[in-house]
């Protein structure tokens, strides 16, 4: 995108914010007309807090903001929206039980004589949904029937429908597939051409060249650097965000694959998982690619016994082939899982790092049933050190940790459990670049010690960085397989293929 030319629309000067510790320290920001100003930073850098202050969600402790010529000090999200500053939230605040139309227009339902004007509501909702490429959906359907990705689009449609001068997007693509992200970028470009200014919070380096007019980097609540345009060397950004040099080269070449550690045969679960067979060998990270709704999460959950399978078998190592009826059986057989929604399914946010790290069937205990507390503390400290978890102590609640550190806690739990196979569902979603590298390295070390990993990711860059092989899913089936050296185009093409199973494809050479 071109460099910004417009006048300053929104100016923030010397913004500071502290909860118990300072989150933002005298940060200033200029947003010009018709630009996409990207806020980059690792988790905890303060970028989301800054966005929330602009959007009226939290008040700043110090500093001034001006919107055009007038002071901007919104006391609420609604006040900011009235002034033309609209924020799309990272944590979606929609109502699953209500229809799409009601979700879109909840705070300004068209009414006549106090009754909701359903015809007008329907007409407006169709327009709003078309704007984000969801025109084929019936606005009367309940939101609950949509997946996470489409819900995010509904949330964005809600924002786009407001007359806004400034649109704030906080990691909008975290839950979107590649195609949905493309669609979103198209909309952002169109809005920008209409004169809207966009504040775009992300930590995904690959999005910058596609969307950014300007990039501001934050680290530990302070402004670090500004770049004009989106073509910034990734190494430099990682260095600025982390404050240290980026590790050279991604995951090292793998050890030769060994025996089969996980064999899945003819696994089925309704229409979401259809006759899936695959093998993961020791020393191998196998990737699962596919669009949102292709069945990646469902496949991992079914293998793990979290959802019941209707047919098929799963075998771990030299064990017996059969279906795992519960996660308990899966864990006993030597499988661990990093669930997609780690905050809800993976962790107890209010509990300490110690409790979370040892949340296992066989946690350290002395006499039957009684927890051996010194042994437990030692085990938790070992995980903290081994996983490089950044926490004040093992007693800190995991809800206070950054996404990357939370994921390290879950990972550490499974490694401590001594499992042979790890099922990872979007293991680095919402994780900053530095922690992402650490998690990939830890997974690589795990397979080099004889483990096997099956990893689902919507991010091709992640699959490329860590996977030895990639399986592509569509419509609940595995439709293609690629060895190292695959191209984005080939995988994307395979993912878009219909549910018709195709012959297994091999991309020849290795990197």
């Amino acid at each position: 995108m071109s460099a910004p030319a417009g006048a300053v629309v929104l100016r923030a000067e010397g913004i500071s914010k502290a909860w118990s510790t300072p989150v933002l320290d005298r940060v200033s920001l200029d947003l010009r007309g018709g630009e996409v100003h990207v806020l980059m930073g690792s988790n905890g850098a303060g970028k989301s807090t800054l966005a929330a202050i602009l959007g009226g969600l939290v008040p700043a402790d110090a500093g001034q903001m001006t919107l055009g010529p007038i002071p901007h000090a919104p006391r609420s999200r609604a006040a900011a929206e009235a002034a033309g500053v609209v924020m799309v939230l990272q944590e979606m605040n929609l109502f699953p039980g209500m229809s799409l139309a009601e979700n879109l227009f909840l705070d300004r339902l068209p009414s006549r004589f106090g009754l909701v004007d359903r015809a007008t509501l329907h007409r407006r909702a169709v327009v709003a949904l078309e704007r984000v490429g969801l025109g084929e959906l019936d606005p009367r359907m309940p939101l609950a029937r949509l997946g996470v990705g489409k819900r995010q689009l509904v949330e964005i449609a809600r924002a786009l429908d407001r007359r806004c001068r400034v649109l704030i997007l906080d990691e909008p693509t975290a839950a979107l597939s590649a195609r949905e992200s493309d669609l979103l970028f198209d909309h952002i470009r169109r809005l920008v051409s209409e004169g809207v200014s966009v504040v775009y919070v992300t930590h995904r380096l690959d999005e910058l060249p596609r969307i950014a007019s300007r990039v501001s980097v934050l680290r530990d609540g302070r402004f670090v650097a500004e770049h004009l345009g989106g073509n910034v060397a990734p190494g430099r950004l990682i260095e600025e965000m982390s404050g240290r040099a980026s590790p050279q080269g991604s995951a090292a070449a793998s050890a030769p694959a060994g025996d089969v550690v996980l064999a899945v045969a003819g696994l089925e679960r309704g229409a979401r998982v259809r006759k899936v067979s695959l093998e993961v060998r020791s020393g191998e990270v196998v990737g699962l690619a596919g669009l949102v709704g292709a069945g990646r999460t469902e496949l991992l959950r079914t293998i793990f016994g979290a959802d019941p399978a209707s047919a098929g078998s799963v075998r771990v190592g030299d064990g017996r082939a059969g279906l795992l009826r519960s996660p308990r059986q899966a864990v006993a057989a030597g499988i661990g899982m990093l669930p997609e929604d780690r905050r809800h399914d993976g962790l107890l946010l209010g509990q300490s790092m110690r409790v979370n790290a040892l949340l296992l069937p066989g946690q350290p205990r002395a006499r039957s049933g009684w927890i051996d507390r010194p042994a437990e503390r030692r085990a938790a400290e070992a995980i903290r050190t081994g996983m490089e978890v950044d926490c004040t102590s093992i007693e800190q609640p995991v809800g206070q940790l950054s996404g990357g550190n939370q994921q390290k806690v879950v990972l550490g739990r499974w490694l401590a459990a001594g499992c042979r196979v790890l099922l990872c569902d979007e293991p680095t979603r919402g994780v900053d670049a530095a922690a992402k590298g650490t998690i990939h390295r830890l997974l690589r070390e795990f397979v080099n010690r004889g483990g096997g990993v099956l990893l689902a990711s919507g991010e091709l860059a992640e699959l490329r960085a860590i996977c030895d092989r990639v399986l592509v899913m569509a419509g609940g089936r595995i439709v293609a397989e690629f060895e190292r050296g695959w191209s984005d185009e080939a995988v994307t093409a395979a993912a878009f293929e219909s549910a018709v199973p195709t012959s297994v494809e091999k991309a020849g050479h290795s990197s």
Binding site: P339, L359, P361, Q363, G369
Partner: protein, 315 residues
């Protein structure tokens, strides 16, 4: 035990001492052996029921049936002693077992069918009350001298033997909660059941077991209550579930599960009992007593909510 928890207990002890001082100043005979005996005799039943309720609530459930279960256990106790002529030592285990079986039924239905325990225990509350009337033919059973000694003040100490038993139960329940794997799993389940299940931990057994425990403690409470009254009343325990929940909440346990303590609930019981005894001595009318007690519950919950909000802003 971490520092936050000790701080919470400290606040409750402070509040309780404040109440004692307040009533001691206002009422002439509040600080007397009679008051101690009165409070001490009523306390044990509520304390053990609140202990069971604490564990249930921490695990993310609720048990509305404790009052009826207590009445049912009391009826079985009365029938065993009066009609079958069983000795007390044999009748007490049967009463506790009755409560445990009622809890087992509740737990199995809740976990097996995946129904919220609020609804299941709303049903078992009625079922157990009905069973109680059936067992004792809708009449109060006079047990008399066979059981009274349990509730008589012991020499020197001035408190009945039920008090140390109840305290032992509270200490044991707190130890289970904070020192055992079972207790750890209860807290974890209350915090996020899916996360615990996906960690490969069996969640069904602890979820059923906690209702069995709550039922058994309601059975023990029936023994205490029957000893105090010398009879088994089919209408006993009406509203007991609300008093227990109030004590648990005042004691700092989160109604949404995942955190709390049994010792806190005991302090909650003390606060409620002291408030009631003190108001009675001041000659407060029944309506006023209930209004003040209700206000105290809301004040406790409001203080807790404000504290959380404050901590949330810090974190």
């Amino acid at each position: 035990m971490n520092r936050t928890r000790l701080g919470e207990w400290g606040v409750l002890v402070f509040v309780w001492l404040g109440l004692v001082a307040l009533f001691g100043t206002l009422a002439d005979h509040f600080l007397s052996a009679t008051t101690l005996t009165t409070v001490a005799s009523r306390l044990p039943a509520l304390a053990v029921v609140a202990a069971g309720m604490t564990l249930v609530i921490i695990a993310g459930g609720i048990d509305l049936s404790v009052g009826s279960v207590m009445a049912l256990s009391g009826a079985v106790l009365g029938v065993a002693i009066v009609q079958w002529g069983w000795p007390l030592a044999a009748a007490i285990p049967v009463a506790i077992l009755t409560g445990a079986l009622a809890g087992l039924g509740t737990g199995l239905v809740t976990v097996g069918l995946g129904i919220p325990s609020f609804l299941v225990t709303l049903g078992s509350l009625e079922i157990c009350r009905g069973l109680t009337y059936a067992v004792c033919d809708s009449r109060t059973l006079f047990i008399g001298a066979a059981i009274r000694p349990l509730a008589q003040p012991m020499p020197i100490l001035g408190i009945p033997p039920t008090v140390p038993v109840a305290l032992a139960v509270v200490v044991a329940a707190q130890a289970i909660l904070s020192r055992t794997v079972f207790g750890r799993h209860l807290v974890a389940i209350g915090a996020s059941e899916p996360a615990v299940r996906l960690a490969g931990i069996d969640t069904s057994t602890p979820r059923v077991a906690v209702f069995v425990l709550s039922g058994a403690l309601a059975g023990l409470a029936a023994v205490f209550a029957s000893a105090r009254l010398g009879s088994a009343d089919p209408n006993a325990g009406a509203g007991l579930e609300l008093a227990a929940i109030a004590a648990v909440v005042i004691g700092g346990t989160s109604l949404s599960g995942g955190s709390g303590s049994v010792v806190g609930s005991l302090l909650g019981v003390l606060v409620i009992a002291t408030l009631e005894a003190g108001l009675a001595q001041l000659g407060a009318s029944e309506p006023l007593k209930r209004i003040v007690t209700g206000g105290a519950i809301i004040a406790a919950v409001a203080a807790d909510a404000l504290r959380r909000r404050w901590e949330g802003e810090r974190g």
